[in-house]
Symmetry: C2
Subunit: 277 residues, 2 copies
């Protein structure tokens, strides 16, 4: 977006009744941390947001402008979880596109729980709810989250497991409800590909970079859920909670293995020290 | 929803920043007409909304309560297009379900163009944008409309056709961006099934009932787009615009055939005379 109109873009204005984010889920989001005035992984968040805006043909604000707005909107708060929503803005009835390309920007803040307090091993269940295969939307963090809402409802009904693992409508593993998935089996590390559906996680990217730097090959592909049942280690990750080890899969106990342990240390280190921009 | 809590449910309150309709598209909508104080097809709209609420585990308000609210919110307006949105309400971060089941209800009104003025024959294009196959959400009118937004963008780029025809990710015909699809080929009437994806349209239901009452068999199934290219008649329909004949498909001219003509008369008749509740 040209800087002139960008300065006019409201942040956290009242939510207009014509907001396309409400009517169609016509937008994107990022969940970030603010840690002592810095936004860890800001470059990565902005890159994914830009990619999403590009795919949805939404005008993307500049990284600097957005960063400033987030810092402004969270003034007085040292550490917070911040949700940034960018939508196509206001629009008419019947999907008609707005005449002016003027995205809405919302910045919401939530309390942050320190990483060390949330990195306990978690219980996970494989959900029956399937993710719809949708290459047009795969990878980006869009606002059409009903599949994940249904999975969260299923998980709640199952008795409050910490996280659910989701397969696509063909039955292949994709990710968790709020995190990406890795597993180890006979010395090999696996993670599902996200070309058809799923969120291209920032912590996943950093974990892959770490494995690459260590010369550890990761198989990325479409794997059936049965393969996961044989895994020696499973961990999940996202950029707010870091790397989370799994202590049970569908009530089957799992121990936290050496790969997961070393990754947790490294990921958390990077986390706390990652530069702002 | 029990009537006690229903009376507390706000209608057209300011849109809260925690609104799950914005964060996740976690809700449903209906687009209705208000014609001289009546809501044509209200029973059908309410039935589909209830079905959607049931599938998404959202508490559904009673038909009477909702009908009253719509009439109240559109007071002083004799004819209007009304958009009703029902969401799961406010919620916390990370998909956590709200502790109290208290849906948000929004009623928005738009100007109405008389049926006779909008029932000209239309130009349609087959879109390259595909609809994701998603049996969990098939049939209901949910707020996750990004596939349709992308199709509308594609249509706009193609040069403002009136409507786009959409196939699913397997390549089978589903519906239009804002209407359902019927076509005739060698004396046989066809319409795509909506078991895997698509909106269970109210006018489609009435058209099917009409064909049944006339002893005309309609083939409902998964049909490739090529079949449509050979059709002698194509028409599309929805409950706001009635039955709309097609005058060109991907620039190939089509004449408005006898089945479409007779249907238009009948549909419009039912339209204007359908009872409120």
């Amino acid at each position: 977006m040209r800087s002139k109109s960008m300065t006019e873009t409201p942040v956290n204005d009242a939510i207009d009744w014509q907001e396309r984010g409400l009517h169609y889920g016509d937008g994107l989001f990022e969940t970030l941390l603010k840690l002592g005035g810095r936004i860890p992984f800001w470059k990565d968040h902005y890159q994914r947001l830009s990619e999403g805006c590009h795919r949805l043909h939404i005008t993307v604000p500049t990284a600097e402008w957005l960063n400033d707005k987030i810092i402004q909107q969270t003034q007085g708060v040292d550490t917070a979880v911040v949700k940034l929503i960018v939508t196509r803005g206001k629009g008419g009835r019947g999907l008609k596109m707005p005449e002016r390309n003027r995205p809405s920007i919302f910045v919401f803040k939530y309390p942050y729980t320190a990483l060390k307090d949330q990195q306990r091993a978690i219980d996970v269940a494989i959900c029956e709810t399937r993710l719809a295969i949708n290459p047009n939307l795969a990878g980006i963090k869009h606002l059409n989250r009903l599949d994940y809402v249904l999975a969260a409802l299923e998980l709640e009904a199952k008795g409050q497991k910490d996280e659910g693992i989701l397969c696509d409508t063909d039955g292949f593993l994709v990710e968790g409800i709020i995190s990406n998935l890795f597993f180890c089996l006979q010395g090999q590390v696996y993670t599902p590909s996200l070309d058809l559906v799923g969120v291209n996680g920032i912590m996943r990217k950093h974990v892959l970079q770490y494995f690459e730097s260590e010369g550890i090959k990761v198989k990325i592909g479409r794997f059936p859920a049965q393969l996961l049942m044989q895994a020696s280690e499973i961990f999940m990750c996202n950029s707010v909670q870091g790397v989370r080890p799994i202590k049970s899969l569908d009530q089957l106990p799992l121990s936290v293995g050496p790969i997961t342990r070393s990754l947790m240390k490294i990921a958390n280190n990077r986390f706390e020290s990652s530069a702002n921009v």
